[in-house]
């Protein structure tokens, strides 16, 4: 450790609040140690924002959790130092660390829904965290109100006694930020604070963080896999890869003149930075143009042979999917309770008259914020909820008038990919059983489950031994591929993909989209993408449909919408979309 001292002295002149030198962290697992961080050196200058970017598993979270001693029990600091204002963070006793956290260091976490305690009111939680201050309760309460007001919660006085579930996700994240900043910390650590939020909320939260940081004058460590966000917000950028810092420097330099090949590729993968519309996106390991082979003997291959002529003639006839004036409402009150309270409309109108068509081999994107009703439309197509009125025609048949049995048969031609890749896989089943299940359910011909599973894994580019794994052993990107394999197994005519890129970093996102795109070309599958990620819509969707509050506000060719948005809401969405270049 002695050889580090000179370095620390040298860097102290720059006035860094946090200096991390040659930090190495390992995890003890059954059968040995796995490296989490390798020789990481990072400085956080006083009053500046440092962004840490990298894909999942790159060690960015390990870094901040090591600084705050919030690591899992099996983590071991193998080498290096981490100091804050000259005091060693790694050797602090739990009691000393406790004094530091929430006072000098404050944190904001990824999911605002789970970071606040659901059984206590916001008032209780916000006054409780001021326990170190020796001031009367009324004063603490007033400070909480002021803090809420500062982060833009309307009527803070009235809303203070409310509970977390009575706030929206964006508001909860504002409250978390208010709580973190109430102590006026020297360092704010934000761990993917906008990942769980919609694009337009993301912009608002980033603006808020930037404002508050300047106002309080604290330093900030901002961890994200979203390049655009880091480019917009941060003064310095640290790029991490496999537990290593591959590049760091002022954000402008890193984004405009990347030195390391990883950073270059990472930037090249970001669909927001690709000016030309392209259905094939570059990924970390390729330019996205390679072809995937569909193994002979699989059910898909047998469909491929038949599919060729069908996709040529299909275009002229009626659309594959035709939704007409679809309305869906959910009861908010029982019928009797509504009658008694005189509520004439005890329903939540989730979808208010949506009409759309999807042609064979086409990609349609439905774009909207959460609560816009886009997922409800998707679920209606697959019969997962009951529309109130309207019609859904698939291949010319009215789905809503079919018997449950007949309806079930149509599900063979429609596959759905769900939002959460891991929790949409049955947890006690092996991957091989999961991806071949559609074939079993629909009684389709295949020679053996194991064989078919291997062919499907090959198509989606997963190693064959994954057949014996369970869902919880997969990363988000791998689980997403399993989702694609399962959607493809029965060779559907339409894939409904709900947020197919949520939580994925740009490279994996590109791989999944390329995969879907090629299968679309080969098999003539129509894809309905439901998303709030406009950057990918611009590249992959033929047509785009914008939804807001259960209504379609605008629809048309994707390029037309992006070039010349007609509706005010569309323009607002496009403006909120974060561009990757540093401002």
């Amino acid at each position: 450790m002695t050889h580090n001292t000179t370095q620390v002295k040298g860097q102290a002149e720059q006035d860094n609040i946090i200096t991390v030198n040659n930090l190495g962290v390992q995890f003890e697992v059954a059968g040995g140690r796995v490296s989490g961080l390798k020789d990481v050196s990072v400085n956080v200058p006083r009053g500046q924002i440092v962004g840490v970017v990298g894909e999942s598993g790159s060690g960015k979270s390990t870094l901040i959790y090591t600084l705050t001693q919030l690591m899992a029990d099996n983590a071991i600091v193998a080498s290096g130092t981490a100091k804050m204002d000259g005091a060693d963070l790694l050797t602090k006793s739990p009691r000393e660390m406790q004094a530091l956290l929430g006072d000098d260091i404050a944190m904001v976490f990824q999911d605002p829904m789970t970071t606040l305690n659901p059984v206590f009111s916001i008032e209780k939680q916000m006054t409780d965290i001021q326990y170190r201050l020796d001031i009367p309760y009324q004063e603490k309460r007033q400070r909480a109100i002021d803090a809420l007001d500062r982060v833009g919660i309307p009527n803070p006085e009235l809303r203070l006694p409310r509970f977390p579930h009575e706030f929206s996700g964006g508001q909860l994240q504002r409250i978390s930020i208010a709580m973190a900043l109430m102590a006026r910390p020297k360092v704010l650590i934000a761990d993917e604070p906008t990942t769980a939020l919609d694009a337009s909320l993301e912009v608002q939260i980033i603006e808020l963080l930037k404002e508050l940081q300047a106002e309080i004058g604290c330093s900030m460590i901002f961890v994200s896999h979203h390049l655009g966000v880091v480019g917009t917000l941060c003064d310095y950028t640290v790029v991490m890869y496999h537990g290593d810092v591959v590049e760091q420097g002022p954000t402008r330099d890193v984004f405009n003149r990347p030195q390391h090949s990883y950073t270059k590729r990472l930037l090249a993968c970001d669909p927001a930075r690709i000016k030309e519309r392209s259905k094939r996106l570059p990924t970390m390991n390729s330019d996205g143009l390679e072809q995937i082979e569909i193994p002979a003997g699989s059910y898909l291959a047998s469909q491929l042979e038949q599919a060729q002529p069908a996709s040529d003639t299909g275009k002229q006839s009626q659309p594959l999917l035709d939704i007409d004036e679809l309305r869906i409402r959910f009861p908010m009150q029982g019928k009797l309770a509504a009658l008694l309270s005189g509520n004439k409309d005890p329903y939540l109108h989730a979808v208010k008259g949506v009409s759309l068509t999807v042609d064979r081999g086409e990609t349609l994107a439905i774009v909207g914020e959460s609560g816009s009703g886009k997922t409800t439309v998707a679920q209606a197509i697959q019969g997962l909820n009951e529309p109130w009125s309207g019609a859904i025609h698939f291949q010319g048949r009215d789905l809503l008038s079919l018997s449950a049995r007949e309806r079930g048969k149509t599900r063979r031609d429609i596959a759905m990919m769900f939002q959460d890749p891991i929790s949409s896989l049955s947890p006690r089943m092996k991957i091989s059983d999961l991806i071949t299940e559609p074939l079993v359910i629909h009684g389709l011909p295949f020679d053996s489950r194991e064989q078919e599973a291997r062919r499907l894994l090959q198509i989606v580019g997963l190693p064959l031994h994954f057949a014996d794994r369970y869902p919880h052993q997969l990363s988000g990107g791998q689980a997403r591929r399993v989702g694609v394999a399962r959607a493809l197994a029965q060779s559907p005519k339409l894939i409904v993909a709900d947020e197919p890129t949520a939580g994925l970093d740009v490279s994996v996102q590109g791989e999944i989209l390329n995969l879907l795109n090629q299968l679309q070309e080969d098999l003539g599958i129509a894809i309905l993408i439901i998303t709030h990620n406009l950057n990918i819509v611009r590249h992959v969707a033929d047509r785009t449909l914008i939804m807001n509050m259960g209504d379609i506000v605008e629809q048309g060719e994707t390029e037309t919408i992006f070039a010349d948005p007609q509706h005010a809401y569309t323009r607002q969405l496009l403006d909120a979309n974060i561009h990757a270049d540093p401002v």
């Binding site: 697992v29 059954a30 059968g31 040995g32 140690r33 796995v34 490296s35 679920q379 697959q382 997962l384 079930g408 048969k409 599900r411 063979r412 596959a415 759905m416 769900f418 939002q419 959460d420 929790s423 949409s424 896989l425 049955s426 947890p427 006690r428 089943m429 299940e437 559609p438 359910i441 629909h442 053996s448 489950r449 194991e450 064989q451 190693p463 064959l464 031994h465 057949a467 014996d468 794994r469 369970y470 919880h472 052993q473 399962r486």
Partner: protein, 305 residues
């Protein structure tokens, strides 16, 4: 790290060979193999196996007839002739404990298996079925639970007469709601999860969702509950036998051995110790076994994958 990569490599050749379909035997052997790797699981397995073995072969192992009286040698402490001493009528306690194990296991295993099966099915239906079904099943559960077990047993015995069958019936009826409620709550929570929605989107039938996707996720908790219930059931049997509603004397059961012992506790503690020891061994054995089985059935808790 080295070891990690090694195990990773081992999987690959295995996966490239054609895997035969999972036969029941293979799963059973696999479970046994995993069980013996955990110290507590192995201990549980040994304890449970020895209890079952001694009950099955009671006739061979037992040195005396369990009902043969020998008034002259009553209330003897353990000796070379009588390993666990004798009771108030001079009967050999060790032989009685062995034969008592037969009764205990018959009652415990059969009633818990039945209660678990019915509870599982009713709980799944209540949790995933239509709301009216849920209401009916829950009402039934509440009605059953509102009877004290002993009063209910009295009523049943009055109608059918005392026998092992009566005890099993009473235990099954009164424990179904316990299992049913656990399963129902779990099922309701699972029904909200995205993977169930995904199965519905694939057109999976209701039985398929219930038995292939819900059941493996609730069975773990049930196994624990069941293994901890086995000693409770044995005590219920003892209690009912004490009231004269269960096993009739002179047939030995662990419960009646302990109850007999209470009357003579001032003379000798040995009958109580002799009746209590197998109860403790059985309880520990089934609890360890149950916990290890849960770990094995839940892939998330598996440490060796």
């Amino acid at each position: 790290m080295n070891q990690l990569t090694q195990t990773g490599d081992k999987q690959t050749p295995e996966a490239t060979q054609p895997l035969n379909e999972n036969s029941t035997l293979k799963v059973l052997l696999d479970t046994l193999r995993r069980l013996t790797r955990q110290p507590l699981g192995l201990l549980g397995l040994i304890l449970v196996c020895s209890v079952i073995f001694s009950a099955l072969f009671a006739g061979v192992i037992a040195p005396y007839d369990p009902v043969a009286l020998d008034i002259l040698n009553r209330l003897q402490p353990p000796s070379a002739e009588h390993w666990l001493g004798t009771d108030q009528l001079g009967r050999d306690t060790f032989s009685r404990v062995l034969y008592g194990g037969q009764i205990a296991l018959q009652v415990a295993l059969s009633s818990i298996a039945l209660a678990l099966g019915f509870g599982l099915i009713l709980g799944l239906l209540a949790g995933f079925g239509p709301r009216w079904l849920d209401n009916i099943i829950l009402t039934l559960f509440d009605v059953v639970r509102s009877f004290p077990t002993i009063i209910f047993a009295l009523a049943v015995v009055t109608l059918t007469g005392p026998s092992i069958g009566t005890i099993v019936l009473v235990v099954v009826v009164t424990s179904i709601p316990i299992y049913g409620r656990v399963v129902r709550t779990q099922t309701q929570a699972l029904a909200q999860q995205e993977f169930i929605l995904a199965e519905r989107a694939m057109n999976a039938s209701m039985p398929r969702i219930l038995f292939r996707h819900m059941l493996p996720n609730v069975i773990g908790q049930l196994l624990i509950l069941a293994s901890m219930d086995i000693p409770i059931v044995i005590t219920i049997e003892a209690g009912l036998s004490f009231l004269g509603l269960g096993i009739q004397p002179p047939t030995p059961s662990w419960g009646s051995i302990i109850n007999d012992g209470y009357s003579f506790i001032r003379n000798t503690p040995w009958p109580i110790i002799a009746g209590g020891l197998p109860l403790i061994i059985t309880t520990l054995g089934f609890t360890f076994l149950g916990e290890s089985l849960r770990d094995i059935f839940d892939p998330k808790l598996r440490k060796d994958v």
